[in-house]
Each structure stands twice: as C-alpha cells, then as structure tokens.
Amino acid sequence: MTQEPDKTIKVIVFQLENEEYAIPVHQVGSIERIMPITRVPGTAEFVEGVINLRGVVTPILDLRKRFSQKNYEMEESTRIIITIIDEMDVGLIVDSANDVLDIEEESIEPPPQVIGAVEDEYVSGVAKLDKRLLILLNLSRVLSSSEVRELYDMEG
C-alpha cells in the first residue's frame, strides 16, 4: 500500500433495502450464509434468535427490522455478518454483502439530518465514493441492548 494507513479505513459494504452500508472490517468476524435460526422468546422484536456458529451460540439481529420494522426476505444473497462489539459476537442479517473497500477518511462526512430510513443515531458518517453513497454504521448504537433489557424488565 502506498497510502498512509491512517488515512484510509477498510470497510465491509453490505446492502439493505436500497441503501449501501459499511462497517469497519475490524468489527467483522465473518460473513455467513443464512442458516436455521432458533427463536428466543421474550426478546426485542429485532432479535431474530440464535444460531450455532461453529459451536458458539450467537445471537442474530434482523437489521431491516431494526431500521424499518420490515421483516427480512430470505433470498439467495441474504447473509449474516458476524460482528464483534464489546467482545460480544452478534450476527446481523443483511440483504447481501458485496464488497470490501478502502475509504479515505477525508471522504467521510458527518451524517446529514435525514438519511433514508435509518435513524440518525445509528449513523456515524457518510462516505461518498464516486457515485455511491455509503452509510457508516455506529455498531455499538445499533447493537445497544438497552432496548432488549427493557423488554426483560417488562417480562419479569
């Protein structure tokens, strides 16, 4: 690489409805094909359930439901991106995972007031790349389990 490493970040690009999103590659553990998911009762709506990821029981979130209240549609391209946040492995269901890109930090802009269906708090920035617009996700916000917890309290 000729570029300075601190000037660019490597991201995984995935598709959700009609938007393209990006997560820094160091937060991604692996990308999996869709597999049987076991529903866990009493959790938030967007918690799809758990899967057996090579012997580790891993929770799975439906990102569509998280962002737009719509269910994911199973297609050939549907993927689960396993992300690692705060030492927890959590899988995200996305429409497709299509690219690994280097984004220059200069091209990242703070999130505009309205970006598609995603609420601002989940977005950490927007990167312009030629004609593509990548939404950089703030994963800790997306995964924030406070809403999940509140639900238990109601149950208990």
Partner: protein
Amino acid sequence: MDTNQYLEIFIDESNEHLQSINDQLLELEKNPNDLAIVGEIFRSAHTLKGMSATMGYQDLSNLTHKMENVLDGVRNDQIQVDSDMLDIVFDSVDDLEAMVLDISKGGNGARDVSRVVDLLQAVELGHVLKDREEQEDHSGNSDDIQLDEFTRAVLEQSAEQGLNNFQVEVYLNEDCLLKAARVYMVFDVLEQIGEVVKSQPSAETLENEEFDHSFKVLFVTEEDEEEIAGRINKISEIKQVKVSTYSIDKDESHSEPEIEQKQNINEDEKQEIADKGYKGKQTANKTIRVNIDRLDVLMNLFEELVIDRGRLEQIAAEINHLELNDTVERMTRVSGDLQNIILNMRMVPIEQVFNRFPRMVRQLSKDLNKNIDLRIIGEETELDRTVIDEIGDPLVHLIRNAIDHGIERPEERLARGKEAKGNIELRAYHNGNHVFIEIVDDGAGIDREKVLGKALSNQVVTREQAEKLTDKEVYELIMASGFSTADIISDVSGRGVGLDVVKNTIESLGGNIAIDSELGKGSMFSIQLPLTLSIISVMLVEIQKEKYAIPLSSIIETAIVKKEEILRAHNKEVIDFRGKLVPLVFLKDIFNVPLELEDRDYYSLVIARKGDKMAGFVVDSFIGQQEVVLKSLGGYLSGVFAISGATILGDGQVALILDSNALIK
C-alpha cells in the same frame, strides 16, 4: 529485566508455596518436634524469597527473609516451636498472601509489614541470644566435626570392617571463583573411592558457597591417606589437602552432648529434605497451565466434530458401504475417547478449595476458645473447574457455622460427657454423576424446638404448619432467608444472612443441600453437586414446532392427561396429580410460540418441581431424554426470562434450555 511474562507463573507458584507453608505450619503445630516439617516450610519460604527478589518485589522478599531466619532458628533448635511463635509466623504468611494478592491485582506488592517484621525479629533475637550463649559454651570444640549417633555408628562399623576413617581438610585457593563447583568435584572424587559420612560446614552451606576457603569432611575408605590427597590435588584451584586419621574416641572426649543432639537433628532433617526434594521431583507430574477459555474453544470445535460425525453416520447408513461403515464406527469410538479427555481436562481436585480450611479452623477455634480437630477426606475428588470456583464460599460458610453453632465449648462438651476436643469432618466423594461434599460435626446438633420457636417468631412458618413438619423439614428451615439461631450474634456467623445464600448458591450450581442432625450428637450438612456444569441431562420437548430442553433434575415425571381432567381453581387450570393439585403452565403462551399445530384433546405434561412446589408444563410432544452440552446465550441476550441457556442438538440447531425455577411460583 522484563518480568511481565513471568508474572502469572510467579503468582501461581507463590500461591502454591504459601499454601504449602500454611499446610506445613499446621502440621508443625501438631508435631512441634518434627524438624522435617520445618525443613519443608523453610524450602518453600526460601524459594518464595528467591522468586520475589528476582521479580523485584522487595517487601515480599524481605518479609520472607525474616521468616526464613526464624525458621532457621527453629531448625537449629534455637527457637522453640510454640503457639505464640506460630501465630507470628501465620501472621506473616497472611501478610505475604495479601502482598501476592496485591501483585496479582496489578499492584506492586508493597505493604507495611513493620509490625510483623518486629515480631519476627523479636523471635529471632531470642534465638540469637541463645545462640551466643551456646557459642560461648562450646567455643572449645568448634574446630572439630561434631558427631551424631548415626555417624558415630557408621564410623564404628567401618572401623570394625577394617576401613579407614579420615578427616580430610581441603583448602581452596583464595582466588577460587566457583567454590561450590570445586567442592562438588572434591566430593565427586571422594565418593569414587569411599563414602563421605559428614562434612563441615554442611553440604548445603557448601553448595551455597557460604564458607571461607576451607572445609572438612569425614570420610570412610579402603584407600590410604596418600591416595586421597593425591586424587584431590588433581583438582585445580586446590591449595592444600590435609588428611588425618579420625578416631571416634577423640571426639567423644570433648564433645558436649547437647550440641551433638543439635547436630543430630540437623543432619537427619537435611537428609530428609534431600530425600523429600528428590522424591518430589520424581513424582511431580509434568503439567502446563492452560487458559480455561482455550479449553472451551477446544470443546466447541469438538462438538462441531461430533455433529459432523452424526451426519457422517447417517450418510454411511444410507450408502451401506462396508469400509465406510468401519471407518465411521472407528471415528465414533475415537471421538468418544476424545470427549472424555476434553471433559477431564476441566476437572480439578477439590483439594484447591479444601486446603484453605485447616488454617481457617485453627484461627476460628482460637478466636472462639474452642478446641477443634478438622479431618479432611477425599480431597483428591475431582470436580469441574467452574463448580470449584463457586463452591468455596458456601463451604466456608458451612464450616464457620459448624464451628460457631455446632461445636460446643470444651467445658460444655465435658459436661455432656464428650471429649473436650470437637471434631469436624469434611469429606468429598463421587457417586454416579454427582459429587457429594459432607460437613459432619459432633457438636450440639440442631434443636428442633428452638428452630421452630425462632421460625414462628420470625414468621417463617405458621403454628399449624410447624406441627406437621418432619425433623428434616425443620432443619431445612435454618436455610430459609431471615433466619439465625445463634443466641448471641457473633462475628463469625449468625448475621441472619448466610445459610439461605449458601442454599441458593448450591441450587444455582444445579445441586442441593440436605441437613441431618441429632440433638446432642452433631449435625451433617450434605451437598450434592453435578460433576460438571457443562453437561446436563435434559428432556427434549416440542412446543408447537419449536424444540426446548428441560433439565432432568427438576422433572418429577411426565404425563398425558385428557382435557376433561383439567380442573379450574381460582381462574387457574390445575390437575389432580396423585392427590395433589398441580397448576398447569402453558409454555406456548409464555413463550409466544407461533401456533402451527391443531389443538388436541389431550395434553402432554412435564411435571416439574421447585422445592415443595410443583407445576405441570404443557408441551406438545416429548422427544426424549438426552445429555447435552450447556452453553450460554452470550452476553447480549443474558437474562432472558425463563431461559437458562442453550444447547446444540445433533442436527446442528440450537435448542433453548428452560429455567423451570423461574416458571414455578
């Protein structure tokens, strides 16, 4: 020096040595004259001192050094082993433990130990004074080698056999650098032609190079003086060798019996240390420390293998190919063995928990003026590491309880016709898939009336209930929350919280606790624990199309009842189960399971219990009983209502494990 990478090893080893010092000190208290034990303690302290100095923990090293001085005094019979002296040494061990703890938490091990150091110094000084007196007393004969009886016997015997006894004096060059090495070479030469009976200074001192430039040995050989001198002179850096015939009588004429004795003990003990050290090295297993997380990863991967093996078995059965079948069968056997090994790797002897109790019992019985003997049986019993980590505190509680409430004061015991010394027995053993830990005391036992009285006044039970309770049920009351039977609330136990916490902890580990007692004769607390937390027996059931696992430990039985048999009471659906009304819990409602099946005119029930309470879980079908590996749902989903974990089934899918305790109210 960058010592960080050794820190973990240092902490582990320090703890081992401290534990060993603790154990041996207790032994010493029982046998104050057994100097072999002092030797053991000395050895541990010495190693600890060396290690901490290397790692740069000066305070730790200094305190150990002071302790070592005292021990050395004991070893040389200059300090009497008594309770006061042991208390001081125990105190210093406490300080050492605190320092190591501090280091393991990332501190620098600094601690104000001046008080203990002063005390140790006082003990040591007492010995120094004595030492000086002795030196004055025996200044006349300090030149010659002192004989103990054993040595004397050897010398006498060899004289009878016509062998020569020589006293060999060796002077090394003053610029000799590796004195210990030269000494070793001299000994080596001598051993080739005879036997070294004794050396002065002692072999250990010589090894540590704690001598000037000369030393003496008593030597038995067939060779003559010239031969010996010749051989030794071949070694370089030897200045002079003096070989003279040694006669026993000469020694006897001016040897003080007292000092003989001292040397005698010294020598024996050294011998023993040497023996022990040797044996220790021989028998100690070679071990490595592995992070438990790594074992978990290994286990996970192995389970994946088992799942694939299942698939392979299926395919082989379909294809029905002879060689394929053979291979799959062999793989099944090998992986079975592998599973055992992996599970065994997580097992550690319960000794780790038990070995802190002798110390605790000693201290407590002192504080409470009681005389108590603790016996430990079955400390080699192995348990899963995760259980070991959890069981320590409950046991501490129960033992404190036995000491405080169980064992009476010596005078009371005598009045009741018992020995003044109370006994507590702590035993562990395997039985089936469980480990039993029992704490038995021969103390006062539990007073049924007293317990009931207290329970009534604390409103734990009602008067009508109280009359119907069996003895066992009464004893269990002491583990109900908000209960304490001690008349006087003491520091040790009886703060009102305690036994209920013990009970909860044990139950959360999947175990249970039972109490048996006889008034005036003593009590027994019996804890039953699963061998491992990672594998549990479950009943797999289907709720609509979803699979759930119910731990077998909470299931009483399964039943199928017709809809007509369901009764309604207080708006709740119940059934009459063997004369008892059991409420039904519809799992599909609680878990919001998507309805896919049509209603049937009978219910499949899993009757489960929590303590005395029962409930019937309504499911759709039973799949069967199975051993499964318990897994957590992970941090993200922790605390889901009525789900205690998950497991991976043979087809690779995840099934949730029901927490039946949460469902029974």
